[in-house]
């Protein structure tokens, strides 16, 4: 018996076809009710695949999934048919990076929100429209009555993302998945959306998994951060622990690459090389080829996972060593 909202155990996701890609390798992750977790990583690290697996959005024919996923006690990987439809939208919903692509251009935003509500809650159109109006108000869209009748192309990027959030939250899911929802937005709009998500999370009390490549964004929205690399979580902890006391060399490299405290003109401590292609399942530390602290042990076997406290872990043989210089 657990109190976890999300419980992912030993998840592996492999894409087969012309080329095999081991996208997720033995990932274990838990999220408690009402918590906001940021999945931080670069392109190809498997953060979006993790979200799509949680919603069962991956093409079944070309995907092989192993492991177990439970959301609020439901075994997600065995869901099908109506149960899967009910799960998507009611239990869990998602906000995407490009709201312009995620919304249907030929329906008004009010109709789109109302459709989702009617489908799940079996209420009349009039009631659904009033729910939609209430949601637009909650995402702080100015003059919501007018906006309800707008088509997506009539709204700016920031407004569209607010509509997307309203749509995702209309059925009051317990879990919200956000896949880089602010990456396509301008800086002054991004911060508005981040603060909005933070407020709504408190208001609705839902769990949030927020995927981002930007540490600053993770700091603004999350209380916990899991750092992903090559389909694995290399370090996890509270946001404070990850920012103030990063233990994995990759996390430290990422923090340095953010440049927020880099001296002007000084040489950057860049991580050399590029992430691995993941054509084979990793049998050693995936970061070793780029790591300044790598030893023979790192290349021989998977790194041990250190668990300094209950919900903190670091997958590195150096995790217990004092912080390395630079």
């Amino acid at each position: 018996m657990t109190t976890n909202l999300v419980d992912i155990r030993n998840l592996s996701v492999r894409f087969t076809g012309a080329r095999t890609v081991h996208a997720i390798n033995d990932l274990t992750l838990t999220l408690q009710q009402g918590e906001t977790l940021a999945l931080l990583g670069e392109s190809g690290s498997g953060k979006s695949v993790t979200l799509k697996t949680l919603l069962r959005l991956l093409p079944p024919k070309r995907t092989q999934i192993d492991g177990a996923i439970e959301v609020n006690g439901t075994d997600v990987l065995t869901l099908s048919g109506r149960k899967l439809q009910a799960y998507r939208g009611e239990e869990v919903s998602m906000v995407f990076q490009e709201p312009g692509l995620a919304l249907d251009p030929v329906y008004t935003v009010g109709d789109q929100i109302a459709e989702a509500v009617m489908r799940h809650k079996r209420i009349s159109k009039v009631e659904a429209i009033s729910t939609a109006l209430d949601m637009l108000r909650r995402v702080r869209i100015p003059s919501p009555e007018r906006r309800l009748k707008n088509y997506p192309h009539e709204l700016s990027g920031g407004m569209l993302q607010r509509v997307m959030i309203a749509l995702a939250l209309a059925c009051r899911p317990r879990l919200l998945l956000a896949d880089e929802p602010t990456t396509a937005l301008d800086a002054t709009v991004q911060i508005q959306i981040l603060l909005l998500l933070r407020d709504l999370q408190k208001e609705f009390g839902m769990g949030v998994i927020f995927v981002t490549h930007d540490i600053g964004v993770a700091v603004e929205v999350s209380e916990r951060i899991a750092v992903m690399y090559a389909g694995q979580i290399v370090e996890e902890g509270t946001t404070r622990e990850i920012i103030k006391d990063p233990r994995h060399p990759y996390t430290r490299g990422l923090l340095a690459a953010n440049l927020h405290d880099a001296a002007r003109g000084a040489r950057l401590n860049a991580i050399p090389g590029a992430p691995p292609a993941l054509e084979t399942r990793p049998d050693a530390c995936s970061f070793a080829p780029r790591c300044p602290l790598a030893e023979d042990r790192c290349r021989a076997a998977l790194p041990p996972v250190h668990v300094p406290n209950a919900r903190r872990r670091v997958a590195c043989i150096h995790a217990n060593a004092p912080l390395a210089v630079g």
Binding site: E42, V219, N258
Partner: protein, 358 residues
């Protein structure tokens, strides 16, 4: 403890065949005066002109020899249009572009401008011809311009940007990673032996760890070849790291320009101030509480009259809605310039000179 002598950096050696310096060190490498570019928006059955996008409107600035000028602003502010005007990819409606003392369209032909000014774009894949090998892509411009030994030049530059010529010369753009492609684009720009390189969001599409590698490379190349950069980005941290001066644009106009340390410690224009406070905090104990601005940047079609920022400005007064503020130094002869009525005691703004920003 021994005292080490401060090392003097080796003098930069200009790229082979670089155009000789004409105006001397005091002549800015590039002067832009009242640059203007409007795009017509067509529509309707007959394709008549419906509106105009005032993409760049009266932009003036200078780029000194050997410095890096950072340009920041949000989408639609005209920073990319400015870049395209500078290398002649778009034709300007009016205004002057003066490269090393020579006026574009007058003493300076477009062909000569392209020898001196080169550009690196954001999308590393779209800006390379997929049918040319990497070596051919880099050698192409030099061959067209009739420079000697284009292939040898290409291989030397590939080596310099960290791509082993023997391994990469015969590959095609789709066979290499994003970071490597951006190195190819940099090598291609340098193959023309330019003196000014315009980098339009050149590192924005890269992953953070790769971005740092490319920034290191850009800094090395600048030192080695004595290059001048115009660095356009939306990432303030990156711009601060690489630039000597920062120029801030809003809806087609320059609102502030200043040396990087000055603008970092005190922003004179309310828009710049908002832009800086919109940066995500890196301190989990001290997160952002209030968004500095509400709403999205307005559409550059029919921008607001007077100061274009007045619709979102906290300090708006009646004068802002009618009179366009001029870009002027904060102190007489100073380098920090801003276009805001708050800093003009004679403007009639009720808060002028009251130091409300700090």
């Amino acid at each position: 403890m021994s005292v080490t002598e401060p090392q003097t950096p080796p003098l930069p050696t200009p790229l082979a065949d670089s155009a000789p310096d004409k105006g001397g060190p005091a002549q800015p490498l590039l002067i832009v005066r009242d640059l203007q570019k409007y795009f017509p928006v067509r529509g309707g059955i007959l394709g008549g002109k419906k509106a105009v996008v005032q993409a760049v409107d009266g932009v003036s600035f200078e780029v000194r020899k050997g410095e890096t000028l950072g340009i920041v602003g949000e989408s639609g502010c005209g920073k990319s249009t400015t870049a395209r005007l500078l290398i002649g990819l778009l034709e300007k409606d009016s205004g002057e572009i003066i490269y090393d003392g020579q006026d574009l369209g007058g003493a300076l032909s477009l062909r000569d401008l392209r020898r001196g000014v080169q550009m690196v774009f954001q999308d590393s894949y779209a800006s390379l011809n997929p049918r040319l090998t990497i070596e051919d892509s880099i050698a192409f411009g030099a061959r067209i311009q009739g420079l000697s030994d284009p292939v040898g030049r290409a291989r030397k530059l590939m080596d310099r940007v960290g791509l082993a010529p023997d391994r990469f010369a015969q590959r095609y753009p789709h066979e290499v990673s994003g970071g490597q492609r951006q190195r190819i684009n940099i090598a291609r720009a340098l193959a023309m032996s330019p003196r000014l390189v315009v980098l339009d969001e050149a590192v924005s599409a890269l992953d953070k760890s790769v971005e740092a590698q490319v920034l290191n490379l850009l800094a090395d190349l600048r030192r080695e070849f004595g290059l001048t950069y115009i660095f356009i980005s939306h990432d303030l941290n990156v711009v601060r790291y690489i630039s000597d001066r920062i120029l801030v644009m809003y809806l087609g106009e320059v609102v502030e320009i200043a040396p990087v340390d000055d603008i970092w410690s005190s922003q004179a224009h309310p828009y710049t101030k908002s832009l800086f406070s919109a940066m995500p905090s890196m301190d989990p104990d001290n997160r952002t509480k209030e968004p500095p601005l509400a709403g999205d940047p307005p559409n550059p079609i029919n921008p607001p009259p007077g100061c274009r920022f007045h619709t979102r400005c906290r300090f708006v007064d009646s004068v802002c809605k009618t009179k366009v503020p001029a870009l002027r130094p904060l102190t007489a002869g100073g380098q920090h310039m801003a276009a805001c009525h708050l800093h003009d005691l004679g403007s009639g703004h009720k808060l002028a000179g009251k130091d409300v920003l700090s």
